[in-house]
Amino acid sequence: MCGIAGIAGTPTGPSDVRLVESMITALAHRGPDRESTVQRAGAALGSARLAIVDLAGSQQPMSSADGRFTICLNGEIFNYPHLRETLKKRGIDFRTKGDTEVALKSLEHFGPAALEMFDGQFAIAFYDQEERRLLLARDRYGICPLYYTRGEGRLAFSSEVHSLQRAEPFRAAELDAGALLDMYVLWGFLPGQSSLAGVHQVDPGCWLEVSRAGTRQHAYWRPTVLTVDEPFALSRAEVIEELSALLAAAVDRRLAPEVSFAVLLSGGLDSSAVSALARRTHGVTTYGIGFADGAYDESAEQRAVAEHLGADHRTITVANGDLVKEMGEVVEHSGMPLTRMAPVSSYLLARELAAHDVRVVLTGEGADEMLLGYDIFKLTLARLAGTSGATVLAELPAPERTEAAGVGAETGDPTDPCYSHRPRWAAGRRIQLYLRPDWQAWAADRDHPALIAERLSDDVRAAHPLRRAQLLELATFLPTMLLGAQSDRMLMAHSVEGRYPFLDNAVVDFLFQLPIDLLTPEPVEKALLREAMAPYLPESVWRRPKQAYTAPLRATLALPEATELYEAFLTPEALDEVGLFDPRRVNWLLGRLRSGAEISGEDSRALLFMMTTQMVHATHIRRS
């Protein structure tokens, strides 16, 4: 991956080039190999490159021979060899061996329709200087980030929000408190939102057209799901065989033989599957996180899988105190408040990967969304069956249950478009108690289910509640938390690129076309994957119940070391400066923590969110 940034709109002169240069310098961790900026009529574009494909060639920004078109590509187009052949048959020549030129010429030749042909993870800036038109595009799932903002009649874009803060005319003056509260409740930003006021994201599966006529976002992809009554031809055995073949191909496409690559191994089914499939063709090094807190530690399971596969396995052990120590760095890189600790442990692991010169890691992210592995799917099923969910949740194995709000969850109305997620979102409203009166009033009027429902298409509304639950996870948690805060931002902080075989286009398209009965998490979640992986993994792994990958939250927040953070960021003065949280109410929670009283999962999450919101303000607003 890389970091990309630029400015579009007249006037664009040397001063804009300098602004882009400073934005690119702020992205140096994303691309340590080469920083470069070019000026075109009406635009300045830059790139910080992390070279993975065609190491010597494929420098960026890359322009067409006549200079009309220029591209900056963050990410990878995995099917570029095929696209290259397609273009060559049309008489188009290539001067490099990489995917950047293929993306450039595909967009030049096919226009935005080329985006539908790309199988990959990418954020692209493609500029046509003749038409003075900029296209900003993002992959289907939001793996690669892309932010933009406006200032003085122009538009600036960048891979990370803090980079935009380096360019004075585009600098945000405050947090987008409403967006942050939405993000907290929904476990993901609403489309277009970010942490900073006036800064937006190009939405996953979309491209933004910036021209003299204005700015307009278009969708080039949205999930096509099998409707409830459509016939399905394959037998279960055929489905398993096809899934296995598609996943193997997805892993093969993501191996990076030109550089040092590894697989992140949590010890669970998904990452074990990726490790096993990579091991078919290559010697594999696996990396895992172990926790000093035994309730979270899966290092023994990791070692068992690695031993079975003959992989060279390395583990870092993370103590709760390490999580506190690194929080400032993590918030600075994530550009958003934290609501869970997992990004911090990911950050520590990424640092270890970089220390061993690993440039690419394959991970199991996306499997729980695509194969219905999360507790929320089980809870939804329990509620559909007419039970309250309390019993189901009590049986689920997880040491830190933020889904605990489902205790006593009402069965509800299954035709409700947001049926699956209402208990989670209702629990998130607890944050209102910690807000100042003006924000409390704002939040009380905020109808999140309605905000989401109005964005759902008719076919999604008509889909099975479990399928809707899956699509809601894909729209909220996946891009913001899992791929954004926990993966891209933490890995790229150390110049490591994450790759996600479960989010391969062919895998995703196949799984969306399966009848929901085949994906149901009862009696066991991810049954198809378990059966598909039976030939590759020991039975103890593919039969093992899911353990959610989490890092210790409650115990970490209660550490004496955490007090220093509270004293720096949650004082009445600091809270007054940001103007979002009520000091008296925050102090109530801190008092409970100090007294050793039990703090719920929701309040632990609220405390982490409040503290890291304050930290985002300190690092992204005050410091700028």
Partner: protein, 90 residues
């Protein structure tokens, strides 16, 4: 044995419990019919409230009774106890 506390006393007792131990909220910030399940009671608070309800009705609640409807508001909690008392008397 179900408590002999009046509906008002039951509501006052739960109001006090919530404000003292379960949420950063003042007694005047929520009414008897305020929906407590929309963020005021978290999972920990729900467990505590159910425990107090069990104390008041003198028995364990069933899974079905451990629903959000039972604790949706102070009114709902008082109603639950009063209905239990009526059942006992009958």
């Amino acid at each position: 044995m179900v408590t002999s506390l009046s509906g008002t006393d039951i509501k006052n007792r739960f109001r006090e419990l919530i404000c003292d131990d379960l949420a950063p909220i003042s007694p005047d910030e929520f009414a008897d019919d305020t929906d407590l399940t929309q963020g005021i009671l978290d999972s920990f608070a729900l467990v505590v409230v159910f425990e107090h309800l069990e104390e008041l009705v003198g028995r364990e609640l069933t899974d079905d009774e451990r629903s959000r409807e039972t604790v949706r508001s102070l009114d709902a909690m008082a109603r639950f106890v009063e209905q239990e008392r009526e059942r006992e008397l009958a």
